[in-house]
Symmetry: C2
Subunit: 336 residues, 2 copies
């Protein structure tokens, strides 16, 4: 018995707070307070209002409440693309933190494109989001100014810029690059190559790696999002540049996995003939053969922390640490 398409609600129109108040025999505002600020209302009226809510099937209209109070309880969550596995734990943790506080996340995909970032931010601001969490940085100077003027709290994540738009939760990518360089050199690998994505942060890690090594290295650059297939291709390119390559640093575990697969397919042993280091500590990295040496980053912690900072600012609190470094750690495993 399919319901009538596009029809208005089957019977009468939806109940409003007005109806609840009438049924409960109290004024509009008392009903409102009973539901949102129970401490200001007597227990008996709370009960009567709640009974009226049940009776009427009342569902509050947050649009109206938001308009009046100028607080939408909506947070914008911006990612380059949902397919970037890297950011999923962050988004997941963020959504959970917000949900627990009665906030919802509006999702936006920026597509590594500044003009789209502009349009998206405008759409979010039009909805009067109470805060913005962006994975990566806000690239558009115009947008930075705009959110600054409007006083919208912003948390940039997964990076650690010197001049954040507002707040930031992340870590130093150049430090990661240096750490990986030091690790590989410490293991005695001389001929090192790099398989890297083309995004901003991967390039920072590249710079750190080169600085740590003190020289250029063979490099294969692949487009986002990183994948096993791209890793295989990258190793092919790197071996053309240096057939005697002994180690490959990768900008993502997906790439590292591909490099390993390609190496094994070419009859190279990992790590005896070729060492491989990834980045991100993906869920599979501890369980491949060989297990993947990688850089561990707590993406969920980034999301949680970002959510808490945004919520604190939404409550009007001052956040003492506007720049939070969650750090990273090299996870030593078999592949390097």
């Amino acid at each position: 018995m399919p319901r009538q398409q596009g029809a208005s609600p089957s019977s009468t129109k939806a109940a409003t707070l007005h109806d609840v108040a009438r049924v409960a025999g109290v004024s509009l505002i008392t009903a409102s307070r009973a539901l949102t600020k129970p401490s200001l209302v007597s227990d008996t009226t709370i009960e009567r209002v709640q009974a009226a809510v049940q009776a009427t099937g009342y569902i509050p209209n947050l649009l109206a409440g938001s308009l009046k109070s100028s607080r939408s309880r909506l947070i914008a969550g911006l990612v380059p693309a949902l397919s970037v596995a890297q950011f999923l734990p962050t988004l997941q943790a963020l959504t959970d933190v917000l949900d627990a506080a009665g906030y919802q996340l509006m999702l936006g995909q920026m597509r590594y494109d500044n003009s789209r970032q502009d349009a998206l931010l405008n759409a979010m601001i039009s909805r009067r989001v109470d805060g913005i969490v962006v994975t990566g940085l806000i690239g558009s100077e115009a947008v930075r100014r705009q959110v600054g003027q409007l006083g919208i709290p912003v948390v940039e994540t997964w990076d650690l810029p010197e001049n954040p738009t507002d707040m930031v939760v992340g870590f130093s990518h150049t430090a990661v690059g240096r750490a990986v360089a030091a690790y590989l050199v410490g293991k005695g690998y001389g001929r090192i190559g790099l398989a890297t994505g083309d995004d901003h942060r991967a390039q920072l890690r590249r710079q750190g790696l080169l600085a740590g090594l003190g020289r250029e290295v063979p490099t294969a650059t692949v487009p986002a999002p990183s994948s096993l297939a791209l890793g295989r291709r990258a190793l092919g390119e790197l071996l053309q540049q240096d057939p005697a390559l002994r180690a490959v640093a990768c900008s993502a575990d997906q790439l590292a996995q591909g490099v390993v697969v390609e190496a094994l397919a070419r009859g190279l042993r990992v790590p005896e003939d070729l060492a491989v280091c990834g980045f991100g500590n993906a869920d599979f990295s501890a369980h491949t053969v060989p297990t993947l040496t990688t850089v561990r980053v707590d993406g969920a912690a980034i999301g949680r922390r970002a959510g808490e900072m945004i919520l604190a600012r939404c409550r009007g609190e001052t956040v003492p640490d506007r720049i939070v470094d969650v750090g990273f750690a090299i996870a030593q495993r078999e592949s390097a």
Copy 2:
């Protein structure tokens, strides 16, 4: 020079449409129409209004517009969890389709928990979402009734129930199970095992597989989300149940990858000693060694189609095909 935290906008309050109208020298409603229904307004006034928008830095308040028009241009997108890689292409395509039409996606994680599903739906309805897209089915009978009464369009996806809440875009999981059974039997594999997730859809595929085979099979059930590690564990369990196992059907490519890794680690050749079939055609499946035989499903098409159906209903159109079967195909590769 950090901006003042929690401060109100740096200077005066934000411009409203009222200000725009005043600056442009037209009435409020004309300014509104110039921005949202330009066809009803003369070109010269459009220009003047747009100039006024620039001059005032006006950003529309969709909260107010939505309240008045009862159309929020907000769509709820519900997934069990963001970590279920399966659904990402669907969400990504859905977000793109909605964005192009000026709609935004509000993300919700249901956590395989009916009570949370209830609470989440309520939060979404409170915000007067214009539609709901859920990956999987709406489990709560109360919620189904509620959205039905409110006349909110709903698209359930990735399944093909006989009685959808409203609309559905998916495919038959029992048919997938039968197809996989037929494929493996056709290849001559006798002793077949199953590594499967514990979610509803995976169980439907299991039923199809068993029906196709006409008998029970050794089964290892793992919790969501599927991963390489769980696949390795599952193969261990299956080999305990039947050391002479010749083939394993998996409910996800992540599991299949783990089964392959574990098989190789135990000195089994794939597919000579053990054939493996996955599900979902993940991005890596065509590039592993050996490449993974799997079931191809067009997740992006599901998201696109779902978005189009929701948007059509938001425009008041009648959707002729309320039940859309996007089908599936077995991708024959090396592992089986």
